[in-house]
């Protein structure tokens, strides 16, 4: 067992919180609690996953695993009878969450409001499900009913239910900080005030439960999740300054402060949580993704399932504070898959090798020897998960139900319900394919996308994703066929299709046509995500270094947090012998996305040019740790250890690796090709 660094851990989730909104508020002294947490702890970006849909992401945070493993695939799932759809449930999670593992290790765990967490799991502490705080559908003066099984244990059900806040309980005293002219809003025409009240009431309800539990119950680990920042952002970010084109001035003036007020309210709640947690507790504050708040705000929302996710930014926040956590430091390269491994490490427990994240050891104030275990799933003992007969795989159940319907054993659901179920099932498959693509498991994604495209050839999202998958698998002819068919059906070429053609021509090595397609896309929509990166990559392939540099600079001017663009500009500088500038850009890239073997490789090459041999070796070591098969990196290491660093034994290690692993792999590959 490795050293235990934390006595207690409080994990706080702020859905969609984004540094871009937080920094100006901190600078003007409006988020003092978070400011203190940052100044005496570490902070950084937390890279999200694709698709950036909250129930999938928060389950990945709680399990350290991607959605193909944990089984939560979207917002809804078919009900066990297959007659309708319903929100995703905790019973659909196939693997242990951090609270289950900690309970198994004897720690007392509490969970409040996690998404999804209904029905409440029978953990050894308190568990409040994400159905607890929903009150707005109940008339104000009616008895405040609640969803069965939303609280565990039952002994505190009455107490916690009495703390719930109804939107109708709120007064202008609560609303004026959000909407200063609330009294002049015509509620018959504009229902946004009601929406603000609902979001405040739900956040206050979650917070009331969390604070009551912290005051009155024992705990070693506690996870609390607030969805309000995401809701404020989806509802009101379009009114956030500066005023967007198309937003009426009067509406802008009325609602421009709602999002900031939402963040400030969270800071007030955070202050209370910090006070109740006490100085011995390690606090981890995170968000699952960011939210575009500037010129990158989309002008429209796609009319498709989960369309509003287009407003999500790929970087959320992380802040850690407490014993053995560094002070006033930045941490880099964190992803939301790292949270569970980090909490396990804080408690001195091994990280499972079937988890997809890594512990954020750079946040700790001392070196840690890491232990691993094959899988926590195989560790027996009471862990507070639902009993196996209560757990379900809604997707497998749907297949079984379809079979029973086909056999005539059960009645099919009515037409509308069936449509909703079909859509849910198809979307879940689409999300699963995207999960595989994001994890670079293209071969797993391909059959799912091919099936979706075959069944729904008119659905452009499925077609374009399938084409991308073919491109990644170097099947450019198949990709081109799909894109051609899509253009034919749509009877027009959208900028996204031009972008895809650009990628296809690039993959085929037809540079001139790639540039032509990308320029077409640029003319139609110069803010198309990924456009300038692909243009830059094409110029890099053409060895037009200056043009590549310019294209990547344009990409950065649109989104300065894009690691691929910083990497691209770094490469362009490297090829122009601008080594200091190259090192700076590539370091920024790996700071934003730490798992980036090629960036570490070129960082190594740049540092060799600058004569920093020891740091170059470090970069190449990271590269081969992330991707052991990169032979060039091993060769550089052999050279550096022999000629510059006087470490012949290390050089030998890499020489051996090249001979034993890489050459044998190459041999196998050649054999397969034959």
């Amino acid at each position: 067992m490795s050293k235990k660094l934390a006595k207690k851990v409080l994990l706080i989730g702020w859905d969609a919180a984004d540094w871009k909104v937080i920094h100006p508020l901190i600078d003007s002294g409006k988020m003092p609690a978070l400011e203190k947490l940052i100044n005496t702890g570490v902070m950084g970006n937390l890279a999200t996953l694709d698709p950036p849909l909250s129930p999938m992401l928060w389950t990945s945070i709680a399990t350290g695993k991607t959605a193909d493993k944990h089984g939560i695939l979207g917002f809804t799932q078919p009900d066990p009878e297959g007659k309708q759809i319903r929100p995703v449930l905790s019973t659909s999670r196939k693997v242990k969450a951090i609270w289950n593992i900690l309970m198994q290790e004897g720690y007392k765990t509490n969970v409040v409001g996690w998404w999804p967490s209904h029905p409440a799991e029978p953990v050894n502490g308190v568990y409040v499900s994400n159905f607890y705080h929903k009150l707005d559908k109940i008339p104000l003066h009616a008895p405040r009913k609640f969803a069965q099984d939303s609280i565990h244990p039952k002994r505190i059900e009455k107490m916690l239910m009495s703390l719930r806040v109804h939107p109708g309980d709120l007064t202008y005293a609560h609303l004026l900080p959000f909407v200063p002219d609330a009294a002049s809003v015509d509620q018959d025409k504009d229902r946004r005030l009601n929406s603000v009240a609902k979001i405040i009431a739900e956040a206050a309800t979650v917070h009331a439960a969390a604070t009551w539990i912290m005051e009155n119950e024992e705990w070693d680990f506690m996870a609390v999740y607030y969805d309000a920042i995401d809701h404020f952002s989806h509802g009101f970010m379009n009114f956030h300054p500066p005023r967007m084109k198309g937003i009426h001035k009067k509406m802008f003036e009325r609602y421009k402060g709602v999002t900031n007020a939402g963040y400030m309210f969270h800071d007030m709640m955070l202050e209370r949580l910090i006070e109740l947690a006490g100085p011995d507790t390690t606090i981890i504050l995170i968000s699952d993704h960011g939210f575009h708040s500037d010129h990158l705000r989309p002008r429209g929302i796609p009319k498709e399932p989960a369309g509003p996710a287009v407003q999500h930014r790929p970087y959320g926040i992380i802040c850690m504070n407490g014993p053995h956590i560094q002070r006033d430091e930045l941490i880099f390269g964190s992803t939301l898959l790292d949270i569970t491994p980090t909490i396990l490490t804080l408690f001195g427990l091994p990280v499972a090798r079937d988890m997809d994240g890594k512990p954020l050891i750079q946040a700790f104030d001392e070196p840690i020897k890491l232990d691993t275990i094959k899988s926590w799933e195989e560790v027996a003992g009471e862990c507070g998960m639902h009993p196996s007969d209560k757990r379900q795989d809604p997707w497998a159940e749907q297949d079984a139900l379809d079979q029973l319907i086909a056999l005539g054993y059960i009645e099919p659901p009515d037409e509308n319900a069936q449509k909703a179920i079909d859509r849910t099932v198809n979307e879940s498959k689409f999300y699963l394919a995207r999960v595989f693509m994001h994890s670079r498991k293209m071969k797993d994604a391909l059959p799912i996308l091919e099936e979706l495209y075959e069944n729904f050839p008119e659905e452009q999202r499925y077609a374009l994703r399938l084409a991308q998958c073919y491109v990644e698998l170097n099947r450019t002819a198949d990709a081109k066929k799909i894109v051609d068919e899509t253009v034919k059906k749509a009877k027009k070429r959208t900028p996204s299709i031009d972008l895809l053609y650009g990628r296809l021509f690039l993959a085929e090595g037809n540079m001139e046509r790639a540039i032509e397609s990308l320029k077409n896309a640029e003319q139609a929509n110069s803010r198309l995500p990924g456009l300038y990166q692909h243009l830059g990559q094409t110029y890099l392939r053409m060895e037009r270094w200056k043009d590549a540099e310019q294209a990547f600079i344009k990409a950065i001017s649109i989104d300065r947090d894009n690691s691929l663009s910083h990497y691209g500009i770094g490469l362009a500088y490297l090829r122009q012998d601008k080594y200091l500038e190259a090192a700076d850009e590539i370091l920024t890239a790996v700071g934003l996305t730490y798992f980036f073997p090629s960036a570490h490789y070129y960082l190594g090459e740049t540092l060799v040019h600058l004569g920093y041999y020891d740091r170059a070796a470090e970069a190449f070591e990271v590269c081969v740790a992330q991707s052991p098969g990169i032979k060039k990196a091993h060769l550089w290491l052999v050279d550096l250890y022999k000629k510059h660093l006087n470490k012949p034994e290390k050089a030998e290690e890499h020489e051996r690796f090249i001979v034993e692993k890489i050459k044998s792999e190459e041999k196998k590959h050649r054999k397969r090709k034959k």
């Binding site: 707005d136 559908k137 109940i138 008339p139 104000l140 009616a142 107490m159 703390l163 806040v165 109804h166 939107p167 109708g168 309980d169 709120l170 007064t171 202008y172 005293a173 609560h174 609303l175 900080p177 509620q187 005030l193 009601n194 009240a197 609902k198 405040i200 956040a203 206050a204 917070h207 009331a208 439960a209 969390a210 604070t211 009551w212 005051e215 009155n216 309210f265 007030m268 709640m269 202050e271 209370r272 006070e275 109740l276």
Partner: protein
């Protein structure tokens, strides 16, 4: 604001300012009370009970459709 007792010990409930003075809980509530969590909500409700407070804003804020549906249902019954 701070509190000086556990949130379920209603009779002893007092909220103190940072300077240590007793905070006069407003019957209409405040964001600060909500941010205090359980103890703030309990203190606010206690104050409303004592004053027999009726929220003048409830009809503005509450979801009208829900109340209309409830009214329609009551009429049917």
């Amino acid at each position: 604001m701070k509190k000086n007792s556990k949130s379920n010990e209603r009779n002893e409930l007092k909220i103190l300012t940072k300077e240590g003075k007793e905070f006069e809980v407003p019957a209409e509530g405040s964001l600060g009370l909500l941010a205090l969590g359980a103890v703030g909500i309990q203190a606010w409700r206690k104050k409303q009970r004592e004053m027999n407070y009726k929220n003048p804003n409830e009809n503005v804020i509450v979801e009208k459709k829900v109340d209309e549906k409830k009214k329609a249902k009551d009429n049917d019954e």
